[in-house]
Assembly symmetry: C2
């Protein structure tokens, strides 16, 4: 690891120190004021939406000139409808309970000490993401509601859009009487700024990378501040011999097709050999009709309906998060073989089993070490909103601190407060 | 960062893979069997205590030859009494509830999905520590009870002692029908083994360094696996103008003197100028009598009783964790100045306030961002056993995942299990 440009390191450290001061004020700000600021942020986005869209058009022109992929341009693009979505997400935060101050545990000890463990904000939260301007407002809103100051790095392609959004959010926060530095960006420092942020030990309490596998791996490898790994989802659906095949068909299709570009979409289908001859021709035909590109192992291929397009699955297919209408399919020798396959290839995000057999459902849930296990339900339900947690800042695939959808509570730490009356230790 | 010796990296990876297999079995092992194994581990230590003591004598000879400090030799030394302590700690674990399987949250969603978030083991937990053979058994016991496989690195000075202890614990675990690889050591690979363990991404779920600040900083800086920072405790006691001075005197003395070598001992005393003239001469005299070496700021020095030995506090004193009968003392201009001092110099472990004023007590607890705040109680209570959490694996001073004393629950992650009946997403 080479040194970070000292000028950039100093600039980012100065940003982080302003965030720390803002975070100290936010930690003591009651919910009512935070909710007022969230509403002001939402109103500001509505009022300045023309300005945001104009900046976004410039980013899109730049992106096309730079040869960004159609998928990336789509993630970058805002529209009046998408701005409405961002605004509504901010307003929904107002309705959520404030996690700060919640008592997690507590007791009175034999010596009379009154012990409480309460939720407190993390402090300064860094967010590194790519080309999705909605994350700018989501992260600022979730951060503010949970009492954290956020430092945003939104990627070069969305520079103008994020610049306008950050500016108006800061003014809204300031106008509501809270510190503007609750929301800061280091976009102006480019990639070197990201490297400085990753090394800002003691200045950044938590760093959340959100984006492609490459970005996340870089941050996890290089960061010297606490990181939560998010979102790589090589999710599986296993259709057991004891499945209700109609339910299973609907679950496979929904998991793959409903929104293939996201991390909770399924990538691999495993079918128990006991029902493969009956189930596979049906599901493959439906996936084919839904224009899903299929990669079949030998046993699945032998059961493919005539006329279906497919190719032979390679080893790499079992490891791939396609993010697209594309799926790997294998026939396995029952539950244990399905579990072994998933243990070998999964990224630990979400795995689904379709079965009516209680013991098999339980064994699948017990033996697989993934963030979420779905029993007879679509993998697409792994989502903070769907889980009833409110908005989410990402889906953690690590085991430390947060696992699965990360909502407001996952942006907090805890503090012990012990009330005594002169107790000393014997 | 240079490359790790490939042969050592391979050997440590092989150890970690065996740990993974053991962890998968342990995760499914019911409490009854884990408790039987803990009792077998305790019995084995009792039976082999002569062998353990003999190995420890050899380590002590080696340590003296290598010129280890008296403090380090003391931490290395075992005695029949210390072995009884280790054995009792293992047996106490039997009485604690199993954290695995505990339901943390749960609900039935509007679509009928039944959601449960349950505690699951972390998996493979690495523990890097120095010269304290009791940690070997503590970590193995806490790990086993919480369903984790542990990989231990106990430092070169305790090589023989730890080798004997690990060997007998492994046999006891195996004899109880659980996988011997629940407990492994990489001591034979020396410092290069530590480096390999810190980089074993995907093989180690959590690494806990426990020891001096140098060790902990190295691990935090170099590790590419999730780490929990433990134990650096630059703890403060602030005696407010509204303190009950008798209580305050007892709390200051207990916090400093009762066991000065540990992380929850106080290092700095701050006294409100409003009571300094009255309180300081008393407390300084008592600290002097307890043979505490004193580093006084100018205002405290002006109030030192005649004949008391002290020196002038330097800037470095406010940052120092003495781990000894030594204390820095300052007079401050009330609560806000005390808070500012602590914010500037604290390591975020434990801070105590002595006051009978409710608003000041609350402000101190609200504004300081440390793991534990004591109101009218000794800093020495920051301890898993004292908090009623049972044994502890260390005291976390970071905000991610665990903060303060880390017991069994802190050695677990969670998993979401969603039971459906064919639900798909609209």
């Amino acid at each position: 690891m080479t040194q970070v440009d000292p000028a950039v390191a100093d600039a980012v450290a100065a940003v982080a120190r302003r965030s720390r001061l803002a975070a100290r004020r936010l930690a003591l700000t009651p919910r009512r004021l935070k909710d007022q600021a969230l509403l002001a942020m939402a109103d500001a986005l509505v009022e300045a939406s023309d300005e945001v869209l104009a900046a976004n058009r410039l980013d899109l022109v730049g992106g096309r000139e730079a040869g960004l992929s159609a998928a990336l341009l789509d993630r970058l693009a805002l529209s009046p409808e998408r701005i409405v979505g961002i605004v509504e997400a901010l307003r929904e935060l107002v309705g959520l309970a404030d996690p700060v101050g919640q008592v997690v545990r507590g007791s009175t000890l034999p010596n009379g000490l009154r012990l409480r463990q309460i939720r407190v904000p993390m402090g300064v939260v860094g967010m590194i993401y790519e080309a999705r301007p909605n994350v700018t407002a989501d992260a600022a809103g979730l951060g503010l509601k949970s009492g954290n100051a956020v430092i945003l790095r939104g990627g070069g392609a969305a520079l103008r859009t994020n610049g306008v959004i950050v500016g108006l959010l800061r003014r809204a926060v300031g106008g509501a009487g809270l510190p503007e530095d609750a929301v800061q960006t280091i976009d102006q420092h480019g990639r070197e700024g990201v490297r400085a942020l990753m090394r800002a030990r003691g200045l950044v309490d938590l760093l959340v990378p959100r984006g492609g596998a490459g970005l996340i791996q870089t941050v996890v490898r290089e960061a010297q501040v606490p990181v939560i790994e998010t979102g790589v989802g090589n999710c599986h659906v296993y259709v057991d011999g004891a499945a209700d095949q109609d339910k299973a068909l609907a679950i496979v299709l929904n998991s793959k097709v409903q929104r293939p570009s996201v991390c909770n979409a399924a990538e691999t289908l495993l079918v128990d050999q006991a029902v493969a001859a009956e189930f596979l021709p049906r599901v493959l035909a439906e996936l084919g009709q839904a224009r899903v590109k299929l990669h079949l192992d030998g046993r699945a291929a032998a059961l493919a309906p005539a006329g279906l397009a497919w190719d032979a699955a390679a080893e790499s297919d079992w490891l791939t998060e396609y993010h697209d209408l594309e799926m790997a399919v294998a026939v396995v020798d029952g539950l244990e073989a399905a579990i072994a396959h998933i243990q070998r290839y999964s990224s630990g995000h979400t795995e689904a089993i379709c079965t009516e057999d209680l013991r098999r459902a339980q064994a699948f849930a017990d033996q697989l070490d993934s963030a979420v296990i779905m029993i007879n339900a679509s993998t697409r339900f792994t989502d903070g909103g769907q889980f009833g947690l409110g908005a989410e800042i990402g889906i953690s695939t690590q085991k430390l601190h947060a696992r699965g959808p990360m909502g407001l509570a996952e942006l907090t730490s805890t503090k012990w407060i012990c009330l005594g009356d002169g107790q000393v230790r014997e």
